[in-house]
Symmetry: C3
Subunit: 262 residues, 3 copies
Amino acid sequence: MVTTYHLGSNASLGKDVKIGCGSFIDDDVIIGDDVTIGKYVIVYSNSHIDEGTIIGDHCIIGHPTKLQLQKTDFSACSSKVRDFIIKEPVTKIGRGSIIRSGSVIYKHVIIGEKLRTGHNVLIREHTQIGDNCVVGTNTVLDGYIKIGNKSMIQSNCYICQTVIIGNGVFIAPGCVFMDNKKIILGEGLNGATVGDYVRIGGGSKILPNVKIGGYSLIGAGSVVTRNIRKGTMALGNPARIKRILNKSEIQNYIESIKNWTI
Amino acid sequence: MVTTYHLGSNASLGKDVKIGCGSFIDDDVIIGDDVTIGKYVIVYSNSHIDEGTIIGDHCIIGHPTKLQLQKTDFSACSSKVRDFIIKEPVTKIGRGSIIRSGSVIYKHVIIGEKLRTGHNVLIREHTQIGDNCVVGTNTVLDGYIKIGNKSMIQSNCYICQTVIIGNGVFIAPGCVFMDNKKIILGEGLNGATVGDYVRIGGGSKILPNVKIGGYSLIGAGSVVTRNIRKGTMALGNPARIKRILNKSEIQNYIESIKNWTI
Amino acid sequence: MVTTYHLGSNASLGKDVKIGCGSFIDDDVIIGDDVTIGKYVIVYSNSHIDEGTIIGDHCIIGHPTKLQLQKTDFSACSSKVRDFIIKEPVTKIGRGSIIRSGSVIYKHVIIGEKLRTGHNVLIREHTQIGDNCVVGTNTVLDGYIKIGNKSMIQSNCYICQTVIIGNGVFIAPGCVFMDNKKIILGEGLNGATVGDYVRIGGGSKILPNVKIGGYSLIGAGSVVTRNIRKGTMALGNPARIKRILNKSEIQNYIESIKNWTI
């Protein structure tokens, strides 16, 4: 019977922590009170999991980066990504979070309180996420990303490197962000910037370097190739501004997410 | 050597059941004759796996809902999803099914005979699936969904809550269903309704509340924003009806899936 | 404590091989020098993993095909896929590869040197991949596929059966390839053919039987319904040729991937 788990040296466990069978908790891990860790979870060293957080079965927390896997030098890092670097090789997950089964969270990741993920989410290195966010099933945050508070990225999305997402943003399922227009390696690498309270409809594609102004609404299935002005509704392939949103439309959205608990 | 598995109390195993190393079979699980369960599979309590079914490695069957994880009250449930509720906290998988590796199936899910899934499929709570269906790799059925018999949803699709899919439906890879047009939380939540023998081309987006009439064909890459009349071909962004399908075109499709065994 | 692994009979291990806890190495597996295998990895029989390769946690290598699971006869195989058949039931992974966590690679798969995958990649049976390729997170290669050298398929893509991808091809995230235009089962099954040094923008859909000529560039979010002439830029839904690429545009791309090491 496999009813035991591995606990590394110098790992610190809070009160009433539950750890499922087969889980592997590496050295120098800090786990807060009332944390629940599922079965066959791997928590690598220097991970901090705050109180009340639930980690689902088969998750990997503190996954090493490629640089750590291959012992490569870090100095190759481009100027484009410099602002995103999280120097300490830690993974911090704020209190009250739910990380669902099969998710993988890298080192050099700092996450606020009450993140809720779907299953099989990937959060790569040098990513910072605020409080009260949601990241849906199968969504990839491909590293070097900043996300504000109360933002929600639904299932099956791909968010490329150097994307900045504000507060209260809603990204519907199946959206794809790109970082390199001409697909010439080494050139470009400019993710989009998404302002506060933006809503992006399902299956939209956002090209590199695009700025989507705050409070805008992008229609489902759009291909956003140019900047979108603040507070407008845009849609189509390529996305064109259809009209300016009125204040109550924007206010209704902002109100609706005030007390959300999805 | 990890060559053993955990078998909970009051678990009922049929004849010639095979269970792989490291698997965890919880209390009150019922497993029929000739079932094969892979390695590191987790089967939570109140799961019924019927005869001849194969469960791949690393699967999770009977995953608890958020309500069960957090002990929240169930009464908050909106009227929109009421028709989809499966009261008993069970997971039933009909005989002769193949659930491929890494898939997660929740509690409150009832599945007919001979479901075949790809890998890493997610089937959330309050979902009912008929006989002889297929759900492809990485596809998400996000809960509160009904699917008829002989329907096939291919890989990398996202099916949102309150979608109803008829019999003999084919949904090609990469399709996205949405449930909330204005993305104002709490409003909307109306998935599409897809009639019998509909075919939806790859990468299509289906907006909330849309009704796709039986026997229709939606072209690949379409964005379906309005109802589509029965027996028509529609395509584009936004999808427009191109022509009425003739009887033989519809009949050829129906014949082709009569004896499928994918 | 689960700090052991299972090693089958007649398994051959090179020098300095590391195998993580809970991993299951089946009979008749050949593992080269300096290979690192993560935790809870399953390596089925007849897998050959060459020197220096890293296999991430929770991966499955040498996954049996449906035919092997169900003991079905192989003779039903259509003429369309005959050219893709890899007769030996082996899985070969060339030296210096990195297969990231949660990935599943089937039997009847032959992979060259230095493949790097993201997480949760699926590579099904009868697939051949050259040297120095990349397959991104959650991408599905659905079997009966040929890929040349130095090609890169990014995250969340779906590549259907009988697709042929040349050398130096770049496929951005979220692309979907389809194999059956009318979605009549048994008919069609003709994947696209993608020439050398083609670049395909994110979220594009490629219809069955399409030929994309070498050196072409497909814009993001396109729906490619017809053949695209060599060396052209095409985009839109449906994709239309916008202009002929000039030599330096093509040369810049080719130069950029010469020394890539992503």
